[in-house]
Each structure stands twice: as C-alpha cells, then as structure tokens.
C-alpha cells in the first residue's frame, strides 16, 4: 500500500483535483451549489472571487470586444496563480482533456504503439505556438473568439457541466488521434491553450529538480513524460526543469526509484549551485 501511494501519489491527487472540480461545477448546475459556478472559461468561486481564462480574454481582445472589469479581475486572479505555480499546471491538474490524453498515452504504452510507429515523432511540438498565433489572427480578422468556437477543452468541460450533445465525438477524436496518429498529439503538440500556458509558466516558482548523482539512467521518467524534451538534463546535469512546457504533472517524480527527481521552489539567484546545495542539505 505504501509503495502504491508512493508510486501514484501525485497521479491520485491530480485525478482527485480534476474530478473534484468537475463535480463542483456539475453540482452548481444540477443541484444549485454555489462553491464553484460557471466553467473553465469563466467562473465564480464562493459567489465572490471571479476567475477567467486569460487566453479567452486575449482572443476577445483580438476580436475587438470591450473587456469588462469583472473579466479583467478574473484574468488577473488566474494569471497570477499560474504565473506562480506554473502555467501548465492547468494542463495536468485541471483540464479534463488531460484524462483522455493520459488514457491514450497509457494505452499506447500497453499495446506498444511506439514499436510500430518508431520513437521519432513526425510533428513538431512548436505547432501549438503556430496555432496560438493563428487563433489570435483569426479572432482579429473574423471578430469572434476563434479558438473558443472549436476548443475541445471547453466543449468537453461545458458538456459535462451543461449537457454534452455531440461533445463525446470530440473526446473520441482526441483519444484516437493521440492513440493512433501522434503520441501526446493534442496536449503535447497542438493545443494552443497549452502553448499559451507554456509561455505563462516560463517564470513560475515550482519546478521539478533533477539530481544527477542519484540517477541510474533507467529513463523511466522520459518514458512516462508527456513533454519529454523538457527532461533533456536527465543523467547529465543536476538542473531544475526550467521549460514552461513542463506540466508539473510529477509523473517523473513518481516513477523514479532513485530519488533523482523532486519538486522544489525555484531559486533565481545563482541557480545551479544553490539548487544543488539545497537538495543535498535536505
């Protein structure tokens, strides 16, 4: 039991957060709860704290909408939160699509999809930044929030809270795409919201740190990581994972049997040295 908890503690916490939030949102619509009302695009916490998706607000701005004070406060709340704890924490701890793409990645590992498709990925992970730019350009040209009208994230989340319609098709498309077309295809390559939060999280404080001296080069962390380019330092150098593309999902920490990865607060001054010393003193 202890090992089970040790090996899956963050995964269990993440699923609890993801499902718990869904239940809270769902309860607001179904049973009139007032803890968390709305959906991931914009919501209100305890009837008091407004929260809004900064990427949606950015598209509104590009589309030429007048941004209300409520919206700007909501954007500030969410923006500051992710600036501190890491933008893509949204991706692995909140976003409901994460459960679908994780399921696809898990199935891939089980059935050995990589062995027929090879390890080399045929698409660039920078596609998301292109899609991000494109969404803003289209928002500007067409005068609507371009990504919000196709976003499977809000489609699925809104669907679970307010009624799904054909939203299940979007879920299935993403699952099949990730399973058969491209490994970590949606979350790791295409999703502009992930791209946006990668940029937001560039300077965040909570980081995974690698301790090279503990590493046995088993590469389990790279196997399980959905953004494995961020783990370039594994077995080479004791460095924090500084890329904004890391989702802080902490799977690498769990699968590591050698205590070579752990969460830590980012230290800005004299990054490398102090980082190492802190870890050793613990």
């Amino acid at each position: 039991m202890g090992t089970l908890w040790n090996n899956y503690r963050y995964l269990i916490l993440r699923r609890t957060t993801q499902i718990g939030l869904l239940v809270l949102y769902f309860g607001a619509n179904a049973w009139g709860w007032t803890i968390l009302m709305g959906n991931l695009s914009s919501s209100i916490f305890l009837n008091f704290v407004p929260m809004s998706d900064p990427y949606a607000a950015l598209q509104m701005l590009a589309a030429g909408a007048v941004l209300s004070a409520d919206l700007l406060i909501g954007v500030a709340v969410i923006g500051i939160f992710y600036l501190l704890i890491g933008g893509r924490v949204f991706c692995s701890w909140i976003c409901p699509i994460n459960m679908i793409t994780d399921a696809a990645a898990f199935t891939r590992r089980i059935i050995g999809m990589d062995r027929i498709q090879g390890v080399k990925q045929p698409a660039s992970r920078n596609i998301r930044y292109w899609v991000l730019a494109l969404s803003l350009i289209l928002s500007f040209i067409m005068g609507v929030t371009a990504f919000e009208f196709i976003s499977p994230i809000s489609m699925v989340h809104r669907g679970i809270v307010f009624g799904l319609g054909f939203g299940w098709a979007a879920m299935l498309i993403i699952f099949l795409f990730d399973l058969f077309v491209l490994k970590n295809g949606w979350c790791g390559h295409i999703c502009p919201l992930g791209g946006f939060y990668s940029l937001v999280g560039k300077f965040s404080l909570i980081r995974v740190h690698h301790l090279e001296e503990n590493c046995t080069l088993c590469m389990k962390c790279k196997d399980v990581c959905p953004e494995k380019q961020v783990l370039h330092m594994i077995g080479k150098e004791s460095l924090p994972v500084l890329s904004g593309e890391c989702t802080n999902c902490a799977r690498c920490i769990e699968v590591c049997d050698d205590d070579a990865l752990r969460f830590s607060i980012r230290t800005f001054a004299n990054k490398k040295k102090t980082g190492e010393n802190n870890e050793n003193n613990e």
């Binding site: 709305g38 919501s43 607000a57 919206l71 730019a133 009208f149 489609m155 799904l164 319609g165 054909f166």
Partner: protein, 274 residues
C-alpha cells in the same frame, strides 16, 4: 578536370541542406500549413456563427458583438430559475457554447430582478440595456418579437381563442385583441390578436401558450421579424415622422438617356425614344 565533374555533382547531391536553406524551407512549410489551417478554421467558424434565428437572453448586446464578448461560461444559465436558458451544444447547430432559449419549450418568465443579466462577467448581457431610471426593468428587454401567422391562427378563422393575449405578461400592451365583424356568419366577431412591436419583449409566453399544433404565434429575432421602410417613405400627416426626411439621402440614377434632362428626352420628339 572533366573526369572530376561527376564526382563533384555527386558531392553536391549528397550534401546536407545548408542551415539557411533548412530554415527557409521550414518557415515556408509552417506558413503554408498555417494558411491552410487558417482557411479551414475560418470557414468552420463562419459556418457555426451564421445562425440568425437565435433568441438570446434579455439584455444581450448586438449579435455581432455578442459573439466576440460572450465567454460561454454559462453563469446566466445557472442563474435562470426556470431552466429557460441553454448553452449551445455540439449538434445544436448554434454558435457553440453561447446561451439561447426555445420559447415553445420554456419561455422567459420575465423575472423582475432579471437574475441572468448581472451575473454576466463580460458584459455580453448588458445591465444598462434593461435598466430604466437606475432600476432593472425587464419590460424594456428585447429578446425578439412575436409574429402571428394569421393563416394558422384559429382566432383569425373566427374561432374564439385568446390564449396568447392572456399569457402575455404585458397584456393589453404587447398584444391587443382587435374586433372585426365576421361576415361569413354575419352575427359573430373575429377577435384577432395583434402584436405591438414597441412593447413586445420577445419573452415567448404567447408562443408557449398557443393552442395550435405548431405555434401560430412565435418569436423571431427582431432583426429577422421586421422590415424597414427606410427614409424615403414617411407619414406625411405626422409631424414627428416627417423629421426623418432629414436623414434621407438623394439617390441619383445616371443612365445614358438622362445625361440630358429627363423632360427633354420626352419632349424632344420621338427621335430619342426609337
């Protein structure tokens, strides 16, 4: 020299692309794919946002602005005590995620405190548009306009029915009953429901109440339901209406013949006409 040539050629062929060439090709590929994706994406958006027959919650701003301002959070839907408002799902053929209502199923019951409007975080539902003298006033809301199909409305047949009139929350203002002699029987009256566009809020209680199989009175977005006379036709007997003439712009139709004066071409003998 000449023997070396084929070798040199081979070398060039096998040489890896220069970084600059690679960069240019990669950029070209990115731009090309982005253009392709952009067109597909925009075509899709153009389709899904082209829904005109959509009834929005009270206080909704102009549809064009609504589409860019609504963040699709559903707080208005949560606030509605009658489950009137819905969020468009995939498959509803409406702009995805935006709120609307179907009056024949559940109309807007016109709550005096309009709970759906103040909760809107983005101002897509505008409090000012449903406020009179600093207080929320649902009676000035404009969700749409009731339209009567007088061919299927049984009151127009001469059968007595005033379901819509009775259901209207602005009874006697938004819908009035007009009496008219029924010449078919010679001794009865038609009691025809007439909608007044200046008072109707488009709440849809009439559509909900209509007794015919498919409602003979129904709500359409005002823009769809109404025509426009324009500035060239005025009520000459109405001093207020006559003022609109100021807005009218002159239209000049220039054709080959009217280069000279039109009068000339008529009076110049028949030469110009044949």
């Amino acid at each position: 020299m000449s023997e070396n040539r084929p070798e040199v050629k081979k070398k060039i062929k096998k040489q890896p692309l220069s970084d600059r060439r690679k960069f240019i090709l990669n950029m070209a590929r990115g731009v090309g794919l982005a253009t392709m994706g952009g067109f597909v994406w925009s075509a899709y958006i153009d389709e899904v946002t082209a829904s005109e027959l959509l009834l929005r919650p009270p206080g909704a701003i102009k549809e064009e602005d609504f589409l860019k301002t609504c963040i699709k959070c559903g707080l208005c839907v949560l606030a509605c005590p009658y489950d009137t408002l819905l969020l468009a799902k995939p498959g509803d053929h409406k702009p995805l995620g935006t709120p609307y209502f179907v009056p024949r199923d559940i109309p807007c019951y016109m709550c005096p405190d309009i709970p759906c409007v103040p909760v809107c975080p983005t101002g897509a539902l505008d409090e000012a548009s449903v406020t009179t003298d600093g207080e929320l006033d649902i009676n000035v809301a404009d969700m749409g306009l009731a339209v009567v199909d007088d061919e299927s409305c049984i009151a127009f047949w001469g059968i007595q029915c005033d379901a819509c009139y009775r259901a209207c929350p602005l009874m006697g203002k938004a819908i009035t009953i007009e009496y008219e002699k029924n010449t078919r029987t010679g001794k009865h009256a038609f009691m025809k429901p007439i909608v007044h566009s200046d008072a109707c809020t488009g709440c849809g209680l009439c559509e909900r109440a209509c007794v015919t199989e498919k409602a003979a009175i129904f709500i359409l977005p005002r823009e769809t339901a109404m025509g426009r006379a324009g500035d060239y036709y005025i009520k000459g007997w109405d001093k207020e209406d006559e003022k609109r003439l100021k807005n009218a712009k002159e239209i000049k139709t220039v054709t080959e013949r009217s280069k000279k004066s039109a009068i000339d071409s008529l009076n110049d003998g028949l030469g110009d006409l044949y």
